[in-house]
Subunit: 555 residues, 2 copies
């Protein structure tokens, strides 16, 4: 019999997913049957729910959707922080929470995974307060409710939450309804006059500017809308920049790219070009503290047109434009627009000076250049918050390279599972992760998942004796910035890897690192882990300055 | 200068804690200075926030209080599920969340660890919806607010939540206020006439009963009030039982103990005694699904007097008693009461039949008996949800042995960090943990903390190829009940243990297990890890039945 469970999974499949993330529990086991019993879907089976949510986030960034399944209360709340990150950074994840049988909830039974108070609705309410669209599925309107929540995710690029009671999951559904999928879940929208007007005003503003600059952001990227702006930028030879948040929204090897901007700490010539801009068109970027070096961007409101996921404004106001705004439509409308006359911009970016390795003890500055130099076209670089993000995000990346990080929500431990999610979504793009040992420990158990699925990313673990990024903000020598001394070279085996599945390097010097990176890149059929030792107070020079800036903002 | 930070930490110290749990972040770093800069407090420094919350819970169960420090948003939400468990099972944990500077929040800055929407109050609201007492500390009434929240924890035994902005933490406080600590945080309460009346009615009811039975629960235990009831029970020779939830609230070696009750699946003679009872006086127990074998207790409302943390009732109603109820006062009042005539009860419990080890492959039934046999007086047995809890909780434990589990909230991964918390709180009671490999992987990184603090518990890891307890409920052979194949024997070294800090056993047979347990018990100065292999479908016989019962309830 075709049931709500089957329907929900067919929806997920239709939207383009082959994987579902999560952890089983007795309130979702029967739903999981419908995943593992079909051969076009993989149940990933995470080590815990927070990691599952991070992994779903990494997957959704690549595919435009991801589904996460947890069990009531315990699994749901464990995944909270991951889902909150998806909300903060506009990543379309659907959280499906298996709930007790409706009858048992109605009877307010003292069942496990509750507060023993008969109140089952608290969990959904908590997520509503967080800012998620939520829905408790019931026997009534089940299909409509599922459709509504999934359409919301598609139309907004935001995560959403639903609870699925055991009995509701089993309700029969007429399978013919699947024939309407293409109309239900159509991502395309026809451009209304209103949204076209916005696009035209924008073009007009560019025509009137002397030094227009496009800024592309994470909202554009995570909603898979970047190709629209790429076309516009390339056709009109418009200069563009990105931020650490949403970096690589557009291919950074395009000749129109001026480098990644990060406020006052930006390198030349990027900084100078931004400073000179008399118009900044922001497509879905957020100017948050970490990616603007604590709000030190040179342009002010009067110079910005914001075309954002939720809203738009021209120089701080909507002006006279009132109507039904759609990010998608405006961006789509812009795609084919032509400027009055093509621009004649050219930029000469500083190439990353090739790092000549010596036998000197590694520094973060050398490390960053060496890692950037090692990245091949088409790969994905994932950088954890901390020295990795600060050190790597300023560099321009090769053709078609993707970059992933979480600089707004900035939850450490995120990068590792999210990298695995990305690798599962796109196994053609080898993922290279740079993380700190302080961060990796939060979510290290997902190594078991990586190995079970036999993935082959490259993982660099910076072992610098603790939370260096925190040291730079406060408490340079304080014991709370120390962490347990782990031996990452033993981890693959401890988490189940067979000898021929992985390769390990333990590096201390410049040449050891370069050598390890070379071998890692040429060994494409293994998981490669590089443990990198660095001094506990060493950091990318920009981060040292950022540390002071953050401290000032906190004081 | 003496500040709010100092005050808050002095309060924690006054209440009797030497340890604070949590993870640093830039919104709490300066607060942490005030912990690590004094030599009478230990900052535990967890691997992640969920584990920190679990560990604080384990600590609070032993000490009656624990403090947890996290950073805004990311750390806070990561710890949620742990705090929710404390709420569900009445464990007094104070969650202190470091927040951005008040001015930055007022300006709605797009700072890290937020949704980038300028809304900082969502997090507190989420916790309020969960059911916690919450407080956002501000420059006004800071000391009063702290006092109010801490008094609440003391008076209710429940967790609570407060946010501490960076600037508020630095506000000067007059240190002389510490002189009032003894009056502010006095746990003792004088018994009012109203509460004494309840106690007297209760005694009267016992006097009128032919077969009265006392049931002691987790609320009594976690609020450290069991000694009051122990006195009453012993003086009057009253029979008592406990449940898996709150097991060992009273010393199970008392002659009045009739064994642990678990509804229809209870062994004789315990079951018979409970079935015969014409009056059950419930002191702080909750009759939840798992600990009553799905609500199969033999006594009904008309036989029960509930003296619970939040409320009381006589046979389902308050009758004519209206007044200010205090669990503490009623329990204290009962302590010294005498029955009309002392009872002449005697019980003969079945001793655990000593397991005679063979070279046969281990079964869960043998395992449970062998583990129980190995436990020494004064030790603490911690059992994870799953086969461990189901197998071990029915047995009567030796003199002064404590038992810890989480059968209502039942979040797997809880047992390991909570065991470490208990061991830190009471290093005189060696902790013995029994957990499953499916559960342990959720929180395994806390091994680094265990090793850093050089603790010496015994840890048994049941490796039965996945989630056996789930298999018994649904999906016996389904792949979602498999887990990554980890090698726990490599874990101590991977997580930083030196060769002389630990001992490892990898056991497959009965005699190997008994041998390992003997050696573990006689090696008190090392951490001992025993990896125990069992068949994937093997389970304690009671759990097999429970699995069917749960399945029926779900269907
Ligand atoms: C979940 C969570 N907890 C705490 C923090 C606070 N925090 C930010 S960076 C950091 C330290 C990162 O250390 P590590 O990964 O070792 O990086 P590095 O030493 O290279 O800077 C911490 C604890 C956070 N961002 N997220
Ligand atoms: C946080 C959380 N996620 C999921 C569950 C659902 N669950 C309950 S028991 C269990 C399996 C436990 O397996 P294991 O520890 O290996 O125990 P055993 O095989 O001995 O039963 C799972 C996944 C839960 N209780 N808590």
């Amino acid at each position: 019999m075709y049931t709500v469970s089957d329907y929900l999974i067919d929806v997920i499949k239709f939207i383009g997913n082959d994987h579902v993330f999560g952890v089983p529990g007795d309130y979702n086991l029967e739903f999981l049957d419908h995943i593992v019993d079909r051969n076009d879907m993989t149940w990933v089976g995470n080590a815990n729910e927070l990691n599952a949510a991070y992994m779903a986030d990494g997957y959704a960034k690549k595919t435009g959707f991801a589904a996460l399944v947890t069990t009531f209360g315990v699994g749901d709340l464990s995944s909270d922080n991951g889902l909150a990150g998806s909300l903060a950074e506009n990543v379309p994840v659907l959280s499906i929470v298996g709930a007790p049988k409706t009858e048992n909830m109605d009877q307010k039974l003292l069942v496990h995974h509750t507060f023993g108070d008969g109140e089952f609705e608290k969990f959904t309410k908590m997520h509503e307060v967080m800012g998620l669209k939520v829905k408790d599925l019931t026997a009534q309107n089940t299909v409509d409710d599922i459709n509504e929540i999934v359409k919301y995710i598609i139309k907004t690029g935001k995560p959403a939450y639903l609870t699925l009671p055991i009995d509701v999951a089993k309700i029969p559904v007429n399978p013919s309804i699947k024939e309407s999928f293409a109309s239900f879940f159509n991502r395309d929208e026809e451009v209304t006059e209103f949204n076209n007007t916005i696009a035209e005003r924008l073009v007009q503003a560019i025509n009137n500017a002397s030094h227009p600059l496009v800024l592309v952001g994470h909202e554009l990227k995570n909603r898979q809308l970047a190709h629209f702006i790429e076309k516009f930028v390339v056709n009109n030879n418009l200069l563009f920049t990105d931020l650490g948040l949403g970096k690589c929204a557009l291919n950074e090897s395009l000749t129109q790219f001026i480098g990644t901007y990060s406020g006052a700490l930006t390198d030349e010539p990027t900084k100078q070009i931004v400073d000179k801009a008399d118009l900044v068109i922001n497509f879905g970027a957020k100017l948050t503290d970490f990616v603007t070096s604590m709000f030190t961007q040179s342009f002010t409101e009067e110079k910005i047109i914001n075309i954002s996921n939720d809203d738009f404004d021209f120089f701080g106001s909507h002006r006279d434009l009132i109507g039904d705004y759609s990010f998608y439509q405006v961006v789509k409308a812009i795609s084919d627009k032509q400027l009055k006359q093509p621009l004649t911009n050219t930029v000469e970016l500083n190439p990353v000076s090739p790092a000549t390795p010596s036998d000197k003890v590694l520094t973060q500055d050398f490390y960053d250049k060496a890692v950037i130099n090692s990245i091949k076209p088409g790969q994905t670089l994932v950088a954890e918050s901390g020295t990795s993000f600060s050190g790597l995000s300023p560099f321009t990346l090769p053709d078609n390279v993707d970059f992933s990080a979480q600089p707004l929500w900035a939850s450490i431990g995120y990068a590792f599972p999210s990298m695995i999610g990305g690798q599962l979504a796109d196994n053609n793009s080898r993922h290279v992760l740079s993380t700190g040992e302080g961060s990796l420990q939060l979510t290290i158990q997902e190594l078991g998942t990586l190995i079970k699925h036999d993935l082959h990313p490259i993982m660099l673990v910076i072992d610098n004796n603790g939370y260096t990024v925190e040291r730079l903000i406060h408490g340079m020598k304080k014991s709370y910035n120390d962490v347990a001394k782990l031996d990452y070279t033993l981890m693959p085996q401890a988490f189940g890897a067979k000898q021929d599945q992985f390769m390990i390097f333990d590096v201390n010097t410049e040449s050891e690192l370069v050598d390890a990176l070379d071998k890692a890149q040429s060994t494409e059929d293994k998981f490669v882990l590089i443990q990198v030792h660095m001094d506990q107070e060493d950091a990318p020079s920009s981060l040292t300055k950022m540390g002071e800036m953050i401290q000032n903002k906190n004081n």
